[in-house]
């Protein structure tokens, strides 16, 4: 199965693909022969940390994911929660940390594009975007450029697509100097009985590619997202993906139009590891095989080879399985929106992924064994001990409280974020409530044509997580919960983005374990299950790891929009009341 002009497999090539020698042994076992480069590439992305969650899976399983309101927990493109009156809210948060450090505008923009697709893939119209951002020290030479680029990129994409960006958070700490965090969350609303899933079924059904053409973008992005940076990362700059929000807007409208019919069997966006992970996951969930004719893949550039097509991370693309015989009807919808549409394969009963190009088989891999053998590690972890209590009276009293207050208000972590959210269209779609605009505890977005609303927030305080991961993880959940309750909402469920350093270091792994345990305990105590999430590891440069940053995104429901409140002290003479300890 080796292709002409192909280098022989060497330990170097295997290592370049991010596979350990033990993992490569498993590849040989599964294949029963040496893989060719295309097949190795497929293993490498499928088994990357990004796609396989190999370090975190064991711990993610401990999170509470069920509840009477949950329609779909983790494992699909996004979580789905029942909100009554025939509707469901669909949401997820996702990181785009590494790409945003390399090219802040495009990295952040394509991060927003990716999470939007995760949500409308499930049949939901996106109604709100949020983000959680972490940068290095304000006067670090790179920070200004990174902040400006990331904020412009988030706005550039979300504003153009026409989904309001209604909230988020920004923190600064030297620990993020070499690894910024860009986490983006999308919330959508769908009819509760018309949720779309990625499970491919129906032997012989056509596999259809829609959206933009495939280029040589971000090949190996998924593997990069799972590797540490070093001194020459700046030099190795891989081809960066460029987002096209206009095409995404058309894709949203075309997909929702198609979803209003009964033509779709399964659908999945092509995210990290593009065509490989989407086709693999769809077939694996449905227990089918899949045959793809790569000659049919719409390509942007001439001379693209199968390896590039399968690993490209070009944006604004989706893969669907249609009911047989409906291709022409579906195609007409995509043509109306000027989008590419191509039948590129079909489902088979072989349990294998067979790739052909130029009339020849160029790749042939078993699906289940590859997916099931995807590594799962119980990495050694070392707990961070509870720090000693600091008595409040052991700290010097400020000489001038006015001065102290000014200093607090002017500190980068507390200063006004107006400069950020004024660059986001936070009102488009006409449902952002007046006191649910950015600047309050949580965003309030009316459910269109109703008097109910969603309350949404993202929260995490990384320095708490560093001091004691378990407490910090629990605190992030509690803070998000309080932010929702403060607007008058009833919290429903949460999503989470686990951002950590290198999990192969026991100390870092201990942070992850602690944060997840704290998060889980708080979610259980507050009856707020986690329905989706994302993990971003290896956020470290030259051994300097970021602060443990388990971001929580939480969604709540308001039954009557007349009965919500904001934070404005709107008139003189009102009483201020302090609640709690």
């Amino acid at each position: 199965m080796s292709l002409p002009n192909e280098p022989a497999m060497t330990p170097e090539i295997v290592a370049e693909h991010g596979l350990s020698p033990e993992e490569y042994d498993r590849v040989l076992q599964i294949m029963g022969r040496e893989p060719n480069l295309l097949e190795l590439g497929i293993f490498s992305v499928m088994w990357s940390e990004h796609c396989s969650y190999k370090s975190s899976k064991k711990w993610l399983k401990t999170l509470p994911v069920d509840g009477p309101q949950v329609i779909q927990g983790p494992g699909e493109n996004a979580g789905v929660v029942d909100i009554g009156e025939g509707l469901a809210v669909v949401f997820k948060i996702e990181s785009h940390n590494h790409p945003s450090f390399i090219e802040p505008y495009q990295g952040a923009a394509t991060g927003v594009g990716g999470i939007l697709r995760d949500v409308f893939t499930m049949g939901a119209r996106p109604v709100a975007n949020l983000n959680a951002l972490r940068f290095g020290e304000p006067d670090h030479p790179k920070t200004r450029h990174l902040v400006a680029g990331v904020v412009a990129g988030i706005g550039g994409y979300g504003n153009c697509v026409g989904v309001p960006t209604v909230g988020g958070e920004v923190n600064f700490d030297p620990a993020y100097n070499g690894n910024i965090l860009v986490n983006a969350m999308t919330v959508g609303i769908a009819p509760a009985d018309r949720i779309f899933y990625s499970k491919a079924t129906g032997i012989g059904n056509p596999v259809v590619y829609v959206g933009s053409k495939t280029g040589r973008d971000g090949i190996h992005g998924a593997t990069m997202a799972s590797a540490e940076f070093d001194e020459d990362s700046d030099e190795k700059r891989p081809t960066v993906q460029v987002g096209d929000p206009f095409t995404e807007k058309l894709l949203i409208e075309a997909c929702l139009e198609l979803m209003a019919t009964d033509m779709i069997v399964a659908i999945q966006d092509m995210g990290a590891a593009g065509l490989t992970s989407s086709s693999f996951e769809m077939a694996s969930k449905g227990g089918t095989g899949v045959e793809l004719d790569l000659d049919k893949v719409p390509c942007r550039e001439e001379g693209m080879i199968p390896y590039e097509m399968m690993l490209s991370e070009s944006q604004e693309r989706m893969l669907m399985v249609l009911k047989p015989g409906r291709e022409a009807e579906a195609q007409a919808i995509f043509e109306k929106w000027d989008l590419d549409f191509a039948v590129i394969g079909r489902l088979t009963d072989t349990g294998r992924m067979v790739l052909t190009f130029g009339g020849k088989v160029v790749g042939d891999l078993p699906i289940d064994p590859l997916a099931e053998a995807s590594p799962e590690y119980d990495r050694p972890h070392e707990a961070t001990p509870l720090p000693p209590k600091v008595a409040a009276n052991s700290l010097p009293e400020p000489a001038d409280y006015g001065q102290a207050l000014k200093q607090l208000l002017g500190s980068p972590d507390l200063a006004s974020r107006r400069w950020v959210w004024e660059q986001y269209d936070h009102m488009v779609m006409g449902d952002t409530l007046g006191h649910g605009r950015p600047g309050g505890d949580a965003a309030l977005v009316r459910i269109h044509n109703s008097n109910r609303a969603l309350a949404i927030t993202t929260d995490c305080t990384p320095r708490y997580c560093k001091a004691h991961p378990e407490t910090g993880g629990a605190q992030a959940v509690a803070e998000a919960y309080r932010n929702l309750v403060a607007t008058g909402a009833r919290p429903l469920a949460a999503t989470n983005n686990l951002n950590f350093g290198n999990p192969q270091r026991p100390r870092i792994m201990g942070q992850l374990v602690g944060c997840v345990q704290g998060m889980g305990a708080a979610c259980r105590a507050l009856d707020t299950p986690i329905v989706s999430g994302n993990v971003s590891l290896y956020n470290e440069t030259n051994g300097q790891a970021i602060l443990p940053t388990p971001v929580i995104g939480m969604v709540g429901l308001v039954d009557d929009i007349e009965r919500t409140c904001g934070i404005a002290l709107s008139e003189p003479g009102l009483a201020l009341v302090l609640l709690g300890e």
Binding site: I102, E103, Y105, Q106, S212, G215, R216, D217, R237, T239, V240, Q241, V242, G243, D244, F246, T247, R300, E301, S314, Q315, D338
Partner: protein, 80 residues
């Protein structure tokens, strides 16, 4: 000295604007047009009159600000 800087997307990088322009030209009835790419032209005036020094300084400006060298190439043209 007048200087022109041409900033273009590296080949292989998606150019959504070029794509949209090409499509619009098609709808306007112009046929036989392809490979449309949009770049930037930055014109500036430099006090420096030594061509070597001017070029070096503009190159520095490109690296630091005018071009995003992750996805863009640049070309400098000095004028008399």
């Amino acid at each position: 000295m007048k200087v022109k800087v041409f900033v273009t997307l590296k080949s292989g990088v998606l150019d959504p604007q070029g794509k949209a322009i090409q499509h619009a030209l098609g709808s306007l009835g112009f046929s036989g047009v392809d490979e449309v790419r949009q770049g930037k032209l930055i014109e500036l005036n430099l006090e420096e009159s030594d061509p070597g020094k001017a070029e070096a300084s503009v190159r520095d400006m490109c690296e630091k600000l005018l071009a995003n060298t992750v996805i863009e190439n640049y070309r400098i043209e000095l004028e008399g």
